[in-house]
């Protein structure tokens, strides 16, 4: 750039010199009159200016030079008019050439050069003003012609060179842009290619972690692989996003969304990233935000998560606050998001390069902070493309504040948080802010508590001491009292008694939550308008959100038949595994043609179709299905599965006949949403609150480690194996304990009698059943003894059976004490084979018991295969379901129920292997036609 400027300066100087030369020639040939003196003066001044300009190497005298040149030219024009002297005209034309050269127009230079030449020739040949017979005039004419040709030629040549250079630069720029585009495309393709196997890695880890029969070391390794896989996926997603934005391929899907759902996701993600940092997350959100907004929710969530993650990453202790407000406009609202932290802050120098790609500021100080440095760059580009703005203010060492403003349209203007109670609410809060060491936390909470009452249009008074609160309570009239955890613990009895008079709400930490009596309600941090409104409305937060996020499955669909189509077997297994908790009938196909064949039965309710498949891809398959005759094929919902979930694809999928799309790796929350949306309501069977995940359990069923368990039973592990279903776990534990003593004696007897074959069967059953209740140590020992039995290593059996029996006894006693101590009784409706399982029993039945449907041996084999798979996964519920299904049929004219009763009995006794063996023998009997 600098070289070009220098060249340009030199070019101008050469032009001035040539012009000067031409004028000097004129001066020398000029008649001795008064004009000569004037011209001499002008030329002298002009050359001086040019000299100055040249030696200073600056263009500040440029204007003056132009003015002087204009003066000289004007003088020449006047002279040429007054004296009709052609020489002056020539000089004027030279000047024009020079002036036009500034604009670098090659054609103009040529035109003026030719005109000048023509004029000279015209005066020689036609008018005779220039008499070439006079040697002096001939000399002038020749010199003038040479001058014109020379200057014009030089100018043209120079301009041509310049233009060529510009063209080259343009080409270079274009090739650089092409390279940039190729890089972006490469990144996008690579990211896509990496995402697909990553899906398998993360998904398979999920499957392994669900398996019971793995050692703690393997579990830990697997957990680490899964975590690393997820981190890698998030980096890949960042790169993919960035390359899409850079190549202009990022499209935004404007869809209706509820800010509550977005907020909930962001808060959950933020809490998950807190780790062991001593950080408070304070959320302050305007409850009057419209319930329905139009925009790309995924991208807005991404921006919010990026900002929150960044704030958490760079803040070791203190507070990260999220504030969301709005301003109303005729087109909708301006959504303002403020994320403030009390972290390390940013220096003014770094603020300038903050939104630059691939750049992490203050890298020396933040060596421990991971990341690609793309988060903010992506966020800024996303915000910009959505028509919004981002700004940051920061004080080094004190913290930063990021502010995002997004203009959004509104689809439903009613407030997203509303207190519905018609009775006036008089609430008090008791949180002693002095317990927080960090003044930023005190400030943030202080502001939040002072604003929340006004926001929700309720009366809320904040108290920081117990005495003042008590005095207010004694005066009467309060309807609700919000208290902090430590405040509750310090006056536990008082608040428990107070809960009999009014609503007492405990603000709990998610970690280290305290057990409270049922009459005391709980909200979990962060404490803000949404959970408070939910409490005041006597509804759960989940209901308020209208979604089931943050908890596990809350419905089943045993009658639903789902077809998953993917050429990758591992992906099929992942999908099947994720759908297992819904008790749906999952059918898989490895190709588009197989999927079409399976659809001939017309009994599939929902199809998940992979986008990229060999031979016939998802789009083609879907189009073929849609072209098939019959209403069913036009309406059956098909969801695209794609690892390349970028903006724009949704439109493409919808146009291709899909109903929706789901990004891979499949997220349970997304799957849940899809199933809820696309499965007919009649097939969805809601689980009651008691059947749902531990996060939503009533507080009188404690599932935390109790002292009485002494590490013998890990209730959390047991809960994990029952898919998070507390009641199911308690039911399994209860059955385990009921039959425990009997089993113990049986093993002891077999050991004494040295009946090794049966001994191995029993310890095998003990291994799996113990693991399913969380008695890991016992399970490990049983496993060892099973292996010893199978390997005929009787010495080990002799040495360790006593220890096994002793441990078994301890587990039984600890379990019984635990159930008694905690008063946790399983709901009879939840016992295996009852309650929801009754629903499952209806799965596949057509007609009544008196008119059982007939199935062939192939179908029976399929059911038994399901049962075996469930057995392998220690999934007693699925085994029960398969049993129930088989019992509801006849095969070759005979009822299957009596045969499968034995299988069910084995399942109830946790003898999964035996159950599978019996089932296999049943199949064999039928296949042999017995």
């Amino acid at each position: 750039m600098k070289t070009t400027q220098t060249q340009d300066l030199h070019f101008r100087i050469i032009l001035w010199l040539l012009y000067l030369l031409a004028n000097l020639m004129l001066l020398l040939t000029m008649p001795q009159d008064e004009h000569r003196l004037f011209c001499s003066g002008c030329l002298l001044a002009f050359s001086g200016i040019v000299t100055l300009a040249v030696f200073n190497r600056h263009v500040s005298l440029k204007l003056l030079s132009y003015i002087f040149m204009a003066c000289v030219m004007a003088n020449n024009v006047i002279d040429s008019v007054l004296h009709q002297n052609i020489h002056y005209v020539i000089i004027v034309l030279f000047g024009c050439c020079t002036l036009f050269s500034i604009f670098k127009d090659e054609l103009l230079v040529l035109v003026h050069g030719a005109a000048s030449l023509a004029l000279v020739l015209y005066h020689i040949a036609v008018t005779g003003y220039i008499d070439i017979s006079v040697p002096r005039e001939l000399r002038i004419a020749v010199l003038s012609c040479l001058g014109i040709v020379g200057i014009s030629g030089y100018l043209c040549g120079h301009i041509r060179v310049q233009k060529k250079k510009e063209e080259e630069l343009k080409q270079l720029a274009e090739s650089a842009m092409d390279a940039e585009r190729s890089k972006s495309d490469f990144l996008a393709n690579m990211s896509h290619e990496i995402r697909t196997p990553m899906n398998a890695i993360v998904g398979m880890c999920e499957m392994i972690l669900r398996e019971g029969d793995i050692s703690s070391t393997v579990r830990e390794y697997c957990f680490n692989i899964q975590n690393s896989g997820r981190s890698l996926l998030s980096i890949i997603n960042d790169i993919l996003d960035f390359s899409k934005i850079e190549s202009g391929k990022m499209e935004f899907i404007e869809d209706e969304f509820n800010p509550a759902s977005t907020l909930n996701d962001v808060i959950n993600m933020s809490l998950a990233r807190l780790g062991d940092k001593k950080l408070e997350i304070v959320v302050n959100v305007d409850p009057d935000l419209p319930k329905g907004l139009l925009g790309d929710e995924i991208r807005i969530r991404q921006i919010l998560i990026n900002l929150m993650t960044n704030a958490i990453k760079y803040t070791r202790q203190g507070v990260v606050s999220l504030k969301i407000t709005q301003t109303r406009h005729d087109y909708g609202i301006n959504l303002t998001i403020r994320v403030k932290d009390s972290g390390i802050g940013i220096t003014p120098e770094n603020l300038e390069k903050l939104f630059t790609s691939f750049q992490q500021v203050d890298t020396k100080k933040n060596r421990s902070v991971e990341g690609t440095g793309l988060g903010l760059a992506i966020s800024k580009r996303l915000i910009t493309q959505m028509g919004g703005f981002i700004s940051v203010s920061s004080e080094y060492g004190k913290g930063s504040e990021f502010k995002v403003v997004l203009p959004l349209k509104v689809s439903d203007p009613s407030p997203f948080i509303m207190v519905k109670s018609k009775k006036p609410i008089f609430a008090a809060s008791y949180v002693d802010l002095s317990k927080f060491q960090d003044k930023n936390v005190v400030e943030a909470y202080g502001q939040l508590i002072s604003e929340i009452g006004n926001q929700l249009h309720i009366s809320l008074t904040a108290y920081q001491t117990f005495d003042r609160l008590k005095a207010r309570i004694d005066r009467g009239g309060l309807t609700h009292c919000f208290i902090g955890r430590s405040e509750y613990l310090s006056q536990k009895e008082y608040f428990e008694k107070l809960a009999e008079q009014m609503d007492v709400i405990l603000i709990q930490d998610r970690i280290n939550a305290v057990h409270v009596p049922l009459r005391i309600k709980c909200v979990y941090k962060p404490f803000y308008a949404l959970p408070i409104a939910a409490i005041l409305n006597n509804e759960s937060i989940i209901e308020n959100l209208g979604e089931a996020k943050g908890r596990s499955v809350n419905f089943t669909a045993p009658e639903a038949r789902i077809l998953v189509v993917d050429d990758n077997v591992i992906n099929l297994q992942v999908a099947e595994g994720l759908m297992r908790p819904y008790h749906m009938q999952v059918i898989t196909a490895e190709s588009g043609s197989e999927a079409i064949r399976l659809l001939h039965s017309k009994d599939i309710h929902l199809i998940f179709m992979d986008h990229m498949m060999p031979e016939m891809d998802g789009v083609e398959t879907t189009q073929k299905i849609r072209q098939m005759e019959g209403e069913y094929y036009h309406s059956v919902p098909i969801i695209a599965l794609t690892a390349n979930a970028v903006g724009g694809v949704k439109k493409m999928f919808l146009e291709s006949g899909f109903q929706d799309f789901m990004p891979k790796p499949i997220e349970l929350s997304t799957l849940d949403k899809m199933l809820k949306t696309w499965l007919p309501d009649s097939l969805q069977k809601k689980m009651t609150a008691m059947e749902e995940s531990p996060a939503e359990q009533p507080p009188d069923i404690p599932l935390e480690e109790d002292d009485c368990l002494k590490g013998l039973i890990d209730t959390k592990l047991g809960l994990f194996y029952t898919g998070g279903n507390t009641q199911a776990y308690l039911s399994i534990l209860s059955s385990y304990l009921d039959k425990g003593t009997e089993k113990l004696e049986k093993i002891r007897g077999l050991w004494a009698q040295q009946e090794w074959k049966n001994y191995v069967i029993e310890v095998h059953a003990l291994k799996s059943s113990s693991l399913s209740i969380g008695a890991k140590q016992l399970s490990e020992l049983a496993k060892e003894l099973e292996a010893a039995g199978k390997g005929e290593n009787y010495r080990t059996i002799e040495e360790k059976t006593e220890a096994l029996l002793e441990l078994y006894d301890k587990v039984i006693n600890a379990g019984k004490t635990y159930l008694e101590h905690t008063n946790a009784k399983p709901d009879p409706g939840q016992a295996p084979g009852s309650g929801q399982h009754n629903d499952i029993a209806a799965w596949g039945t057509e007609g009544t018991q008196d008119a059982l449907a007939e199935i062939d041996t192939a179908q029976l084999a399929q059911i038994i295969e399901c049962l075996k798979e469930a057995g392998d996964a220690f999934d007693s519920e699925a085994m029960e379901a398969a049993c129930e299904e088989a019992s509801a049929y006849r095969c070759r004219g005979r009822e299957l129920k009596p045969y499968f009763d034995k299988v069910r009995q084995c399942i109830e006794d946790f003898e999964y292997e035996e159950a599978c063996r019996i089932a296999a023998s049943i199949l064999q009997q039928w296949e042999e036609g017995q």
Binding site: H58, V59, S60, K62, L63, Y66, I102, T327, H329, Y331, N334, T336, P348, E349, E352, T384, M386, G387, G388, F389, I390, S391, V405, P407
Partner: protein, 294 residues
């Protein structure tokens, strides 16, 4: 005693922290872009609007608050105060005085408690008047005294800016295309200043912008003995930190000010003068107290 408050507009280009210290509330101008309408300073800043314009944002228009907005703003203030002194950007360059006066007229009797003062300046130039009024109000001066002092002070404020080129002035219709091309062609950097409430061309600097900026600063501060040394504002439109430090050191080389406040200009001001424009704004002698006294 009459309890009055001072209010102003976001285009006064005073730091937020100073405004809250002086208890001065502001009303926001609006910036219209292709995607929506944003509150200047609160929702959009100089960097945002300049980046938007450089990306080729088709529409960018700044607008004073409407009469209704002024009315709501004043009514809210009158809930807490007996009288309001509102210092507005010059009527010669904005509709704010007109709209504010309309709001006052709409308010009827209540409007008599509102005093609109046309600062005849912009940016931190009107900021000087805001500081003066807020200090006097806190010192217990009457509304009349404050207004008289503001009237007196108004002529002593030096509000000038140097702009890199006339591109943004042309985009906002302040100069013709010819002037804009001339400025680009001859590397001219216009120096603008507020004269009788109107933005006027004070001079032209040629050549390298950094050196032109330095010349501008030196020229502005050449009569050091006539300048009130208590405070100087360097108000800029998204200048780089390095440039700001250079300007500051030039200022310090010319005069020793008790306080130099570097502050980004509002989006409204920045969108009119373009990136890298800056101004050194000060008072002529004997006008204000030091900010330390606040």
């Amino acid at each position: 005693m009459i309890n009055q408050c001072v209010t102003t507009e976001c285009v006064c280009d005073l730091p937020g922290e100073l405004l809250s210290r002086l208890n001065v509330d502001i009303i926001y101008f609006h910036i219209y872009t292709d995607s929506g309408c944003f509150k200047d300073t609160d929702e959009i800043d100089a960097r945002n609007i300049l980046e938007y314009m450089e990306r080729g944002g088709a529409k960018s228009k700044s607008e004073a608050p409407s009469a209704n907005e002024y009315k709501n703003f004043f009514q809210k203030k009158l809930e807490d105060y007996d009288e309001v002194i509102h210092i507005a950007i010059s009527s010669g360059i904005s509709d704010s005085v007109k709209n504010a006066s309309l709001a006052v007229a709409k308010m009827g009797m209540e409007g008599k408690r509102i005093h609109i003062f046309d600062s005849r300046h912009l940016s931190s130039g009107m900021g000087f008047l805001v500081i003066k009024a807020a200090q006097m109000s806190r010192d217990g001066c009457s509304t009349r005294q404050i207004l008289e002092e503001l009237e007196h002070c108004r002529g002593k404020v030096s509000t000038s800016f140097i702009v890199k080129n006339a591109d943004y002035l042309f985009r906002n219709g302040k100069v013709s295309k010819g002037v804009q091309r001339l400025c680009r062609l001859f590397s001219l950097h216009p120096v603008l200043y507020m004269k009788d409430g109107v933005l006027t061309l004070k001079g032209l600097e040629f050549g390298n912008y950094e050196k032109s900026g330095a010349r501008y600063v030196k020229k502005e501060l050449r009569h050091a003995q006539a300048i009130d040394k208590s405070r100087l504002f360097i108000t800029h439109a998204n200048c780089r930190l390095k440039s700001i430090q250079q300007i500051k050191s030039i200022v310090e080389g010319c005069c020793r000010f008790e306080e130099i406040i570097v502050n980004p200009a509002s989006a409204t001001v920045s969108s009119n003068c373009g990136p890298n424009a800056f101004g050194v704004l000060f008072l002529l002698k004997g006008q204000t107290k030091s900010l330390d006294e606040t």
